[in-house]
């Protein structure tokens, strides 16, 4: 009987060690994922700058606005596009600041690049890109700047939490206690 108990105890400790090792690997993977994710805003900014360069050159790869109008119809007037751009910028900034306040992980940067490219294209087809280029550029830099900061600060905070858990495992060899606000972690 005592030998059987010893066997059980050693099996339990092996299972626990396996769980700890698994958890350690998960946390290391999570740190790597967060490090990659923290660069997402910068990638989005880079993509936006490439789109800006194309817009500055008048979208050389696209057909002329008159051909697009002939096939798709007339675009909205520039003042309507400007109103929508203003509303979009306001909403995007408020949404981004709300996510920053709530410490929410959200992968929205590249969708903003898509929306901003849409504004560039609408102005291009409406032949009003020259007058409104800097407005779209400013809106893009602001929205993507706030988004990049939000993603970066979220990742920094989460990396600190995960690193503390990793340090706890290394120090004690036991599973760390789950924090109430670490629900987003694996």
């Amino acid at each position: 009987m005592p030998q059987q108990e010893d066997n059980l105890t050693s099996a339990d400790s092996a299972t626990a060690e396996g769980a700890v090792e698994k958890r350690r690997q998960e946390l290391e993977q999570e740190i790597n994922r967060l490090k990659r994710f923290s660069n997402r805003g910068l990638w989005a900014c880079s993509t936006f700058l490439i789109v800006c360069m194309l817009a500055w050159r008048g979208f050389p790869l696209l057909p002329l606005p008159d051909l697009i109008i002939a096939s798709l119809g007339a675009p909205p007037p520039p003042n309507v596009i400007s109103m929508v751009l203003l509303l979009y910028t306001f909403s995007a900034i408020i949404l981004s600041l709300s996510r920053l306040m709530g410490n929410i992980e959200h992968k929205s940067s590249f969708s903003h690049v898509g929306y901003l490219t849409g504004f560039f294209l609408f102005y291009h087809i409406a032949k009003a890109l020259d007058d409104n280029y800097w407005a779209v550029f400013g809106a893009g830099i602001t929205i993507l700047g706030v988004e990049s900061y939000r993603i970066w600060s979220f990742c920094s905070e989460q990396i600190t939490v995960v690193s503390e858990q990793l340090a706890y495992i290394s120090r004690t060899g036991r599973l760390p206690l789950e924090e109430p606000n670490s629900a987003q972690l694996p």
């Binding site: 520039p78 003042n79 400007s82 751009l85 203003l86 910028t89 306001f90 900034i93 981004s96 600041l97 920053l100 009003a128 007058d131 409104n132 800097w134 407005a135 400013g138 809106a139 830099i141 602001t142 929205i143 700047g145 706030v146 900061y149 939000r150 600060s153």
Partner: protein, 285 residues
């Protein structure tokens, strides 16, 4: 900077406010420029209409001397760069610059292409499509407008020179107005808006910074000093005054905790002192 409370509080707000105000500046300036340009085109169209009405009788009578005189007098007006009347084939029939009379203009050139881009030229264009902008040889920005001279019953029925009733357009009037005043006005508006934007940014960001410093950062600094004093092991002299309610509660709790710790330490050392005296006495025996 990014890790401090001031950085975390001010960077997103500063970035968002600055960016939004800058976007508003560009959009508002583009809208104002659009309005000013429309006004300018409308002014040019009205002037072109005035020229057409003034020269109508002279053209009907084919009185080239009167026509030239009217065009010369109108072109003397400040801001008028040129006035030309083309016939159907694109030849200059009358102009404010006599050397241009009799010259042929290319129908593919800017100002003509809008109507002549297809094999059958368009006879109707909106006011905005009739206008074009360019810099002339003297480097002056010019807003030119080309308006068609339509055939009328008086023209086709006139005995002097006959136009077929089926001919819709007899020629065009091209009038160019200097944009120097408009460009200067736009530059003035842009400068004023720029100064206004900078002032709004300074007031907004300065106001937020001042309020945060007054209500958050300075009280936090006092709290930090309190904890640093406590760390040295000395008894805290007093609770910092005039803190916001939440920070005041934290400071008082910390102060009370520190006081209790000191009392306990004193009691412990006293008890230890009492406890050790007999033992010392015992050992001395």
């Amino acid at each position: 900077m990014f890790k401090s409370l001031a950085g975390r509080a001010l960077i997103p707000v500063g970035l968002a406010v600055t960016g939004f105000v800058v976007v508003c500046f560009f959009l508002l300036y583009a809208a104002i420029k659009n309005i000013v340009t429309r006004d300018s085109i409308s002014h040019a169209a009205n002037l072109a209409d005035t020229v057409l009405k003034s020269t109508h009788y002279a053209m009907l009578k084919s009185d080239r001397e009167t026509l030239g005189s009217i065009i010369h007098n109108i072109s003397e007006q400040k801001g008028v760069e040129h006035i030309r009347i083309f016939n159907k084939s694109g030849m200059v029939n009358a102009s404010s610059r006599p050397e241009e009379i009799g010259r042929q203009v290319d129908k593919r050139s800017e100002g003509c292409i809008n109507c002549h881009q297809s094999s059958v030229p368009s006879t109707r264009l909106g006011t905005m499509e009739q206008a074009r902008r360019y810099s002339n040889s003297s480097g002056i920005d010019v807003m030119a407008i080309t308006v068609p001279i339509y055939n009328e019953p008086q023209c086709s029925n006139a005995a002097c020179h006959v136009h077929l009733p089926s001919q819709k357009v007899l020629g065009t009037l091209d009038i160019g107005l200097s944009q120097t005043v408009t460009v200067a006005t736009l530059a003035s508006i842009r400068n004023q808006m720029f100064i206004f934007t900078i002032m709004v940014l300074v007031v907004t960001i300065g106001g937020v910074t001042a309020l945060l410093r007054r209500n958050v950062f300075l009280p936090m600094q006092k709290l930090e000093e309190l904890t640093e004093k406590a760390e040295t092991g000395k008894e805290l002299p007093s609770v910092p005054s005039r803190l916001p309610r939440e920070l005041d509660r934290i400071a008082k709790s910390y102060y009370n905790l520190n006081q209790k710790l000191h009392r306990t330490e004193q009691e412990l050392s006293a008890a230890h002192g009492i406890g050790t005296t007999p033992a010392t006495a015992d050992s001395s025996r």
